[in-house]
Every structure is written in C-alpha cells, then in structure tokens.
Symmetry: none
Subunit: 320 residues, 5 copies
Amino acid sequence: MEQRIAVDRKKGASAGNPVKTILEWYQGENPGVLTNLARMLNHGTLAGTGKMVILPVDQGFEHGPARSFAENPAGYHPHYHFQFAIDAGCNAYAAPLGFLEAGAAEFAGEIPLILKLNNSDSLFSSSDPCPAITGSVQDALRLGCCAIGYTIYPGSSMRNQMYEDLRELTQEAKASGLAVVVWAYPRGSGLSKEGETAVDVAGYAAQVSAQLGAHVIKVKTPTAHIEQPEARKVFEKQKIPVDTMADRVRHIVQSAFNGRRILIFSGGAAKGTDEILEEIRGVRDGGGFGSIIGRNSFQRPKAEALKLLSNVMDIYLNKN
Amino acid sequence: MEQRIAVDRKKGASAGNPVKTILEWYQGENPGVLTNLARMLNHGTLAGTGKMVILPVDQGFEHGPARSFAENPAGYHPHYHFQFAIDAGCNAYAAPLGFLEAGAAEFAGEIPLILKLNNSDSLFSSSDPCPAITGSVQDALRLGCCAIGYTIYPGSSMRNQMYEDLRELTQEAKASGLAVVVWAYPRGSGLSKEGETAVDVAGYAAQVSAQLGAHVIKVKTPTAHIEQPEARKVFEKQKIPVDTMADRVRHIVQSAFNGRRILIFSGGAAKGTDEILEEIRGVRDGGGFGSIIGRNSFQRPKAEALKLLSNVMDIYLNKN
Amino acid sequence: MEQRIAVDRKKGASAGNPVKTILEWYQGENPGVLTNLARMLNHGTLAGTGKMVILPVDQGFEHGPARSFAENPAGYHPHYHFQFAIDAGCNAYAAPLGFLEAGAAEFAGEIPLILKLNNSDSLFSSSDPCPAITGSVQDALRLGCCAIGYTIYPGSSMRNQMYEDLRELTQEAKASGLAVVVWAYPRGSGLSKEGETAVDVAGYAAQVSAQLGAHVIKVKTPTAHIEQPEARKVFEKQKIPVDTMADRVRHIVQSAFNGRRILIFSGGAAKGTDEILEEIRGVRDGGGFGSIIGRNSFQRPKAEALKLLSNVMDIYLNKN
Amino acid sequence: MEQRIAVDRKKGASAGNPVKTILEWYQGENPGVLTNLARMLNHGTLAGTGKMVILPVDQGFEHGPARSFAENPAGYHPHYHFQFAIDAGCNAYAAPLGFLEAGAAEFAGEIPLILKLNNSDSLFSSSDPCPAITGSVQDALRLGCCAIGYTIYPGSSMRNQMYEDLRELTQEAKASGLAVVVWAYPRGSGLSKEGETAVDVAGYAAQVSAQLGAHVIKVKTPTAHIEQPEARKVFEKQKIPVDTMADRVRHIVQSAFNGRRILIFSGGAAKGTDEILEEIRGVRDGGGFGSIIGRNSFQRPKAEALKLLSNVMDIYLNKN
Amino acid sequence: MEQRIAVDRKKGASAGNPVKTILEWYQGENPGVLTNLARMLNHGTLAGTGKMVILPVDQGFEHGPARSFAENPAGYHPHYHFQFAIDAGCNAYAAPLGFLEAGAAEFAGEIPLILKLNNSDSLFSSSDPCPAITGSVQDALRLGCCAIGYTIYPGSSMRNQMYEDLRELTQEAKASGLAVVVWAYPRGSGLSKEGETAVDVAGYAAQVSAQLGAHVIKVKTPTAHIEQPEARKVFEKQKIPVDTMADRVRHIVQSAFNGRRILIFSGGAAKGTDEILEEIRGVRDGGGFGSIIGRNSFQRPKAEALKLLSNVMDIYLNKN
C-alpha cells in the first residue's frame, strides 16, 4: 500500500480551483486532452477562473471577405486577429486552416489556437447544409493547436454525415491529446427559422454534442421559443422557466451533462454593445462558461472592440 | 487420446447452470466474446440466472434532454445512470459515447458497459430513418465495455446501409472479443405505424438480427397485429397463437434461432407500473430473456424506479 | 458550472475502498485499463481488499512438462489450472497462449485471465537470456483476457530488446484497455547468481518495470544480499533496513513508485509450507500487494494446494 | 503586394524579446514545434528570459531507486517531482514513461513535460552502451508533453544505432509539432574516462546533436581536458581559451551552431552548493542557456533544493 | 498519328547546350529528377556550362566543430555557408540535416540544396566504418532540396550495409523526383591507406556508384598508385596512362559510364592555393565535371575563399 509522504496532493485540493474542478469532469480522457483544456482555461484575462472568452474568425470563409472585414479593414490581415485575441486577453483564437497557417509561426506560444476543421462558404446554399472538411488533426498538431473545432448542423438532412465525420476526427484528436470544440448550430429543413435558436433545440444540440464526445460546446444564445411540440409539453408540464436569458442558459447548461461540459455562447450577428453585455450577464447568471465573440469584436474598430471584450470579461469576473 | 483425469469437467455439467447453457449456444465465437457475454450474465441481481435487465440511456440523444430528463432532473447528470444501474442490480448499462466517457473512469469495474455505436436525433426526421455512427469498437475497448450496441430499422429504405455498417462493426467487435447487442426496431416507409410492433414483424426483425450475427437482440414487446399478408396466411394456417403477450413472445423467441439467442424486450414509452409488470410477466412466460428498461426507470424518482426494477427482477426470479 | 445534484459521488468516497484507492494511482490510464485492473482486484477470495493472489502456469514452457507436471500429473491437463484458480479463489490465472486457448472457452467468465506474451524454453540456454514473444495483444482480446503478461530479465545483455518489445506491446495493450503485468526477473551476465534475488536488484527491477509503464509488477522475494557496490553504500549510509523480509519488501514497494504500483511477490522454487507462509507474512507486513504462486500450488495434490492458498489468503486478510 | 496595415508586427519587433529571438533560429520548423519551444521558454521563474532550468528525473531508471531516492525518500513518489518542478519555477520536467504516466493527469497544465524516450539501467553495463527505447512520440502526445527527450552516447560503438533511432523519432516528433531535446553524453570505448567531459568532446557532441536536428541540447559541464590529438592541435594553434568554465562553455555554445541552438548544462553527480553555483556562473558567463539539474535538486531536502534552484535562477537573471 | 506542329523541338537542339546534353544521359529518369539536376546545373557562375562547383559542409559532424571551424570562426554559424555558396556562385550547397534546417527557410530559393543523408563522427573510429543515416528523403523534400547526398565506403566490411541503405534511399528519392549524389570514398580493412586514393580504386568506386544509380558521383583526386594486383596487370597490359592528373581523371570519367554520369572531384585536406588550382586543371583536362570544395573554402577567410573559388570556376570556364 502506498507509503504516505507529505508530498501527496491533499484530497479535495481541487475544491477551490475552478480549472481543476472542470478537469475532473473529463477524467476518462488522457492527460494530453486535459493539458490542452488547461492551456486554454489558464490563458488570458480569465485564466484560472473556469470561464472562457474565445475569438472565432471563420466568417471570411462562411460569409465572404467583404461582409466580414470591410467594416474594419484591418481584419483582412490574418495577423490582426492573432494580435487582437492576445491584446483582448482571450483564452483562445479559432480559425480555419489558412488563417492559422498565416500567423501560427509569428505568434507561436502567444495564444492558444483552435483549428476549425470544417467550414461552409455561401456561394452555394442549401436548405440542408453540410460544411466541407477543410483541415486535419495532423494540421492541428503541426500548427501547435490546443484543440480542433467542428461545426454540426442538427436539423439538416446531412446531420449524420457531420456526426460521423466528427466522430472520426474526435477519436483521432483525443488519441493525440487534442481537445474537441463543437459549434452546435441547429439548421436545416428539419427546423423552422425561429427554431434554430429555440431553447429546446439549443438544449438538444448541446446534448447531442456532449454525447458525441465534445469537450467544449458552443451554442447560440437561445430565445424563449420552443420548437418541438413534444418538448413544449415537457417544458409546460415541468414548468421549466424560459423567460429570462439566465433561465434559458440554465436549461442548456443542464442539458450539457448537468453542467459537466464546458458550454459557451455566441451572440451571432453584430449588435449593440448594451444588448451584448445584457445577454452575457444572462449567460453568466445561468451558469454558462463563457462567450465566443466574432463579428461583434472584429467588425468594430480595435479600441472599441477591446473595450467591449474587457467589459464582457468583467462580467465573467463578476465585476460588472 | 486424452488421458482421463479427474479434473475434467463432466459433460453436461452446464445442465444446471443457465449461463453455461447460454454460452454453449455461441460456441462458434471466440472466448473473448463468451467472456464478455458472461460478464453481463453474471452481474447484478440476476447474475447466474440467464436473465438480464439492462439500463439503456440514449434518449438524451434520441429524444432530446428535456423530454428525457426534465421529469427526473437527476438524470441530466451522467453519473446518475451509472449509479442507478449499480444500485438497481442491472446486468449492464448501455449509452452513447459521451455518457460513457463521462463516467467510465469513475465507475470502472462496477457495472458492465455497452457502447451504443449509432444514434439518431429527432431534430430532423425522415420516413426512412438511418442513425449516425457515433462511436467505434476502439472506443468500446478504451472505455472497458463488454459489448457494442447498434440499432437497425428493418422496414426503412436505408436498412441495407445499417446492416452493412453493422456487419463491419460486428466483425471488428468479435475479433476483439466484444459482444454485439442489436436494437431491432422495425420502422420506415416499408411498414405501417401499427406494423412497427406487429408480432410477425418483431419476429422477423429478431431473425434478421440473429442472421446478422447479433449475440443479444432487443425488440419491443409486440402487439397481436400481423403486418404482412404472406405472414398472416402462415400464422393462420399454422394456428400460431398471438393472443397473449406470452404467446407473442414465444413466437419471437422461436424466431431468434429457436431460443438460442439472448432476446430481451423493451417496453417503449413511459407507462404505469402495473402495465409494465404485467407485460414483463408475459415476456417471462413466453421465454424471453429479460428486459431493457430506459424511460420507465430513469424518468421516475430514484426510489420509485429502484422499486420498479426490483419488482421486474423478482418476476424473472419467479418470485412474483 | 455544474449544478450540484445529490447523485454526485462524494469527494473522498474512495477513502475507505481499497480498490478505488488503487485505481486513483492509475488515473492517467483510460477507463478500459482501470476496468480490467478492477476485474482482477474484484475477483476471488481477496476481491475488494486491494490484495491479489495470482496463479501462473508457464513452467511447462519454461522448464518442460515433466519437471512441471509429473509431480502432480493432473497439471498436464490445461483445464486443471483454470479450475484450480477458480476453486482456490485466485484473482487471476496467467499462462502462455496454448494453455489459455485450451480452456478459455470452457471457463469463460469464471476467472480473469492474463496472457503471458513471452516465454523461454530451456532446451537452449544462454547466459544472457531473452524470451520469445509467443502471443499478441489481439490474442489477449480474442481470449477475453484482462491483461497481458511479459517477462523482463534486467541484467541480461538482451535487456534492451525486451524493454523495447515490452514498450510496443504495452502501448498497444493500453490503447485496447488491457492491463500490463510485468514479471521482473533479474538474470544474465550483468549479475551474480546471488544478485538475482538481491534486495537492491529487486528494487531496481521493480523501478524499471514501473518506469516502463507496468500496472502490476511481480518480483521474487528478495534476500538481504546487496549486489551493487554503489547501492551498498547508499543502503549503509541511509541505514535502509534489510534484515527481515518485511524490511526488504518495504524497500521494493517504495521502489515501485512509493507503493503506487501493484507489486506482488513470487516464492520461486517449490518449498515447505511453513517457509512459504512465513515469507508471505513478510510480504504482507512490508506492504506487498500479494503473491503469485505457481509451482508451490500446482505441484502439490489439489487438496493440499487449496489448503495452502487458503492459508496464504488468510494472511492477506489478516486472519493469520 | 501586401497592403500595409497598422497591425503588422514591426520588423525587428523580436529584438527586445529573448524568446522571439530564439524562435527565429528555428524558423525552418513548423509552428507546432515553435509553440512547444515557447511553452517551455515561457514557463516558470525564467519565463521570457530565453534561459531555462529543467528538472530531469530519470535516475531511478539509470542508477536504481535506492541510489536515486534514499537520500531524500520523498522522491520515491512520482508526484514529488511534478510538484517540485512547479514549486521551483522550472521551465519543464523530464522523465521516463512511467514517472510521467503516474502524474500527468493530476498535474495537467501545470508544468511543461518532456518524455525521455530512451533509458539505460545499470544492472548490465557495457563499454559501448546503448539505451533502450522506452517510449514513443504517440506516448508524448497522449501525455500532453511539449517535447521528446533522447540520449546519445557519442564515442560508443553503438552510436550509429542511437543516431538512426533518434532521426526517426525526431522526424515523427517534428511532424506532430513536438520539440526535441537531446542529452549528449560522450561515452564508450572510443573515449577515455577523462575524455567523456573533455571540452573538445563536449563541443563535438553538441555539434553532432545540432546536426541531428535537436532543438535543445544538454551536455555536461566540460573540463579543460582535450581528448583528441587532432582537436588539440587546433585548440593550441587557434589559442581557443579553455581555462575557465566560461571559456569552455563559450566554445561549446559556439559549437552548437554559433549559439543558435538552446544549449543547457548539467552538473552531473551531487556536489556542494557553492561548487554548483560557481559552475553555473561559468555557464551563464559563457553564454549557456541554462541548466538541467537532477540529483543536485531531488536528492536534497525540498526546502534546501528549492533554495538552490532559486539561487541558480538568480544567476541566470543576473541577480547573483 | 502525331500531327506535326511547328512547336516541335528541333532534333539535335541539345547539341550546343551542355545541360540538355547531360540530361539526355539520364533520360530513363522521371522529369522530376531531370528538373532537379537542371536546377543545380543551371545555377551559379557555371550555370549552363555542364560544370559544377559544390560547397559541402559536413565536417562539423565528421571531424568536430573545432577542427572544422576554429580556423575561420564565421563558419560556426550555419548561415555563413549558405551565404558563402551564394556569393561564390556555387551550383549547390550540401550539408547534414541540422545545418540545412538552420537556414533553409531564410535562404529559400537562393541556392540549390543537397541533404547529406548519412554521416560519421570521429569520437569512435573503426577500421571498417559505416556512417549513420541521419536524414530522410522526406526531410529533403520538406527542406526544398534538389538532391540527397550519401557516402559509401567501398573497401569496408560494412560496404553492403551502405549499398543496401543507399538503394532504398535512392529508390525513394527518385520516386519523389530528387537527384542522388554519392560520395564514393574507398576506405576500410579491404584497402591499404595508399589504396584509398589509388587510381584503380577510384575508378572502381565511381563505377560502383554509377551502378548503384547515382546521378552525381564525387571521388577524391586520385594518385598514380594502383592498389589491386589484378588491376595493375590490366593497366600495364593496356598501357592505361596514369602519370598526370588529367590521365587519371580520364580513366575515372571513363569508369563512370564513359562520361555519362556527372563526376566531380574533391581535394580533400586543406592545402595551398597553387596546388589546388593545378589539381583542378588536371580534373578539367581529364574531362571531370567539376569540384566539391569544402575545407579549402570555408576554412579560409571569406574574401580569400571567394577568390579561390572564382579562380577554380575560371578554370572550368577555360579562362585560366
């Protein structure tokens, strides 16, 4: 039996450490995955709090360059986003292959990276979308990333293709010690437009992502709409509150393994500062783990965007 | 020629041992498969009886989290189901990748696990459904599982895709000594709604599963409806009784290689306790090998659910 | 953040559970490895105590059949050893490929198996021995084993070949969720005959095994001899006690990661019962995790051997 | 042509940043390698200075547990070294497979790790040594390591085997974004005992390591002895100073691509504090990049060892 | 049938173009190999003449850094040699892995590179030497090289190992379109010291290299000594002239497929300028294709070395 020596970590040592507490939820994973989750959780302004703010810039691929960068032309330059994520104190920066290749050497070691492994452009659109796989786990390793990122569209007739591709990439990523971040964006002919951000659908998308083995899950901030009749019955019978953002976030957090998966929220389209901050207070109050803020940051002038992210982080630090 | 030594197992030694008897039906399989079947058959309250009660929790993926867990919110937590299966004395716990990853380390060695390798969400629905493959045999090995689980939808135009994927997974699983559990759920444009649980269809689905190499087959408790006209002629000509649940179960058991494959039954949607127990008496009396009870257990308060499963197991132990 | 629900395992729940405590030492491993360690630790008379008694029968290969089995001819029969391990309440039975193939189907699920992956015969002998690899990880899976076994001979000029082969097999075994048991037998031209069981050498062999990634390590009960001059200086300077078996075992347990690796002891050549039991009391008192007893069990008449193992287990249960 | 945007990093921005300057020396490598070098260079007390102090603990394997840990028995425990490296503010902790597996999950994200991929035990000794390969690049990835470590023995008849194995591991490591740390220890029948630490031999070993593609090279602090007659002629003709440690370090730094490879020094056997610190002042003054201090740290009581490393780091910070 | 079109290259167009003429000798090779040969032949001062002067710097590995670089310490810096080869107008620069990795990015596209794939250090010496393989074809591709380089030691008992390794590397290099440069250095217990540069041996080594598939062969300038008695008989009987350097070069050129393989000569140890130039006039007059000049260039001050190479090239341009 182990001979007790003073160096042993005290049991329960993780109690006061949010990052250690979070890592305990993933103890079926190998130490490489835990290390890469910790690299993100321990970086930037929110380091060590268990909260995360991630900068994602895949809109150049998804929406085209003019729609993405003309508002703030500095964003055409791939270095802009690396430097912005660093200056803003983000936990990580997520982008497709090309954007990461264009700066990963110059900014090596300065900001945790997430390689978005699939992307859709909007030169062809489909009511049942499915992104193309545009990068690999090996790319993520050679670029020094902490994680792979992947988008699923629950509600699309192509969802199974996405789930199956994700499963293969996840298995490979985990074997190499990389974390897996899933963008869960309900979309497709199975859903109404309103349903894409319905609270029941958001919770369902979070659940599906967690069941697929995601470590970090990103959903859109949900509305109070309930899309599925069977779900509506349950929400009503169980009186699940959905009136406030905090209520709705709480439901989705619960849907992601009772809060044992890192769940972060995006705000979607660019909007006003007050609106964003109010939304983020709801995310915080509902137990969300953070935000992933793209257009609302890189489409503003840098100073203004840095101010916004600083305010956002203050909310997660309970300063605001 | 073998020198007779007293240590030889007496021929027929298995006569009084239900588990040994069952394993003899699978003697074409390698010892790893037999061992993993035995791990499930020798675990829990029904250990050694040749009967099984399995806890399946894939509804979070299949129906969404609110519909699955809001009734008994403890079920949002992945550990709840591990602990419930242990406390209830189940033979095994079956779930998709994420739910098993979220507890397999913490509960290692406490409950046999079945990794459900394919799953469907209901944000998109199709009249000819086909689940996504969401896990691998390698995942099952690294998580310490006894078996893989897989759903087929006989009656769907996509059935061949499912059968062919199952065949590949089965081949790989057996080579690694894992057992194969098939959820046989007739569904799709080839069948009427009523036909999904028709007794002829259930028997057919059990036969197809057995022919595909399944070790354990799960079907829904059948109705007396007979879907296929050609089948109806035979049922009538041969006077195959289908009036009672026991009658119908007996037909399906016979259809699964004359009772030489482990055939278990699910009750489907949540229902009243008496109704469930009555159904299960029918399963037992018809020669069924057990039950797989999901929603009817995890959607009740834990104490009530434990009581229900205890009553179910008493039926299989002929105490009730 | 996780919503606290009563189902959460209480922190420190493992404190009173020896098996859980042991599994915590291996938390870098995947749940499959933990499960297979638990299968052995939770089987037989010593189930749940954190102690192990394993039956190894590789002497037919290592010493030849007559030297191994003529004394108790029942042992020629491969089933004898399976049945003996079961009847004696062992935690596991370890043997080369052929012996396991000859009974794994018949005894499926009755006793955890360890496939010895390398073996030496004595028809050719070398002062620098290196066993042949005689089985594979895939064999272990198809036979339903919990672990692979492997012998290293530290002190042989061929040691590096053994270490490198072990490394590859270990990597493959762990990826498939199997545990790794290493027989660490110092031997070869680098050591004197007396040195093979020297206390410093035994500790060194245990350390090397642990560094190579072994989960369970088997060494011979050590003598008070100290082989290496540099080690002798340290033993003397630090006054490391080596007078009693318990003292020596304590040093080796400490050498195996301060007691955080399962370390078991073999008695080697057949000897008298009292001598064996006395030795085992030393192993227990020094903090050893158990015994691996081959010749001293299968070369006695079965009844006598069962009695011996029962007495051994009583020692580990502190009844004796 | 690139449109000048204010976000561009100014050329020469790295001038004042020692880590950026160092990374520029490796610009042929992929961003993953640069990131992992940066992870080490930016960690601990010396973060950002371009200097490194690494804790290596492979002596349990190399010299045996008693010789390594009996002096300070806390070191038998694998967690001790992780915690010590963290508390001491080291840049990284290097150890063989077993020691890393035994703590990488518990300490995930707290200290950069280097997996030593080859190791020798001293139960067999050879005048022409060659370590066994005891880990893999895949192991390094799954354990979350920044780098692989590897020992070469220039001067051994087996050197080519080591160089060729290193080449393969290096190629695989770099493709996965891992850094490569080489322990260059001249030894073997091609050298006299005195020659193992001769200044010409140390410079030669550093050159060979750099030519083999090492990113970080560790040599022993050299003596003024010159081993090779042809080298002696050059040292005399060119009046290469070797009188002081700084002189000798300067030659070796120059030999490692004119100071464009990270070269660190070990002190070897345990010795007095003043002697160590004096040596390290020489390393610093000669342009060395840091120290790798094993026995001199973990064989002292923890408080004393922390004090020593603090003093060592102060030297590199030019405070002492 | 091919339709005659005016764009057809005129037959015999290559008559006046030395590079085209040379490429015709290799027309069994794929266009990638031809392209890479052309890249070297069309670079630098001698571009287009069919002559080559190559800078090789592997002495840091082969002889150690002090012996190689102390005379002209600028050579410790890996960039020095890239820049020197460019400034001197060399056709290519050849070096081991580390030296190329340390500058290939910075000098990309400025000078054709040859990756020396095997190297020997002199800390261990053997009468039957065999270099270690220290790089791969994959390394050559990722570094943007035109060719791999490889040393064989005909006369060593290890020659077959070298020939076989070369064969594998050659096959892989050619499949990837890389050229193959062989350093043919007779050496080993099969030869006397004098025999290493004997004219018969040099011719033999060139023939072996060509038979092994080399595109470019490097030998030392030969002496008039004839090593092998059987060869001597033939030289005498056929009155093969060996008195002048031009005579001897002519024999070796003839031995390399009658001049249809690019054969270049090294001068070996550093020596006086006049001696070198005289030797090179002999190479030119005997039909040699050029020189490979290492120590005689990088061990002189840069200005002096540039002057020397300029003089050498003037000889090949028939200006001197």
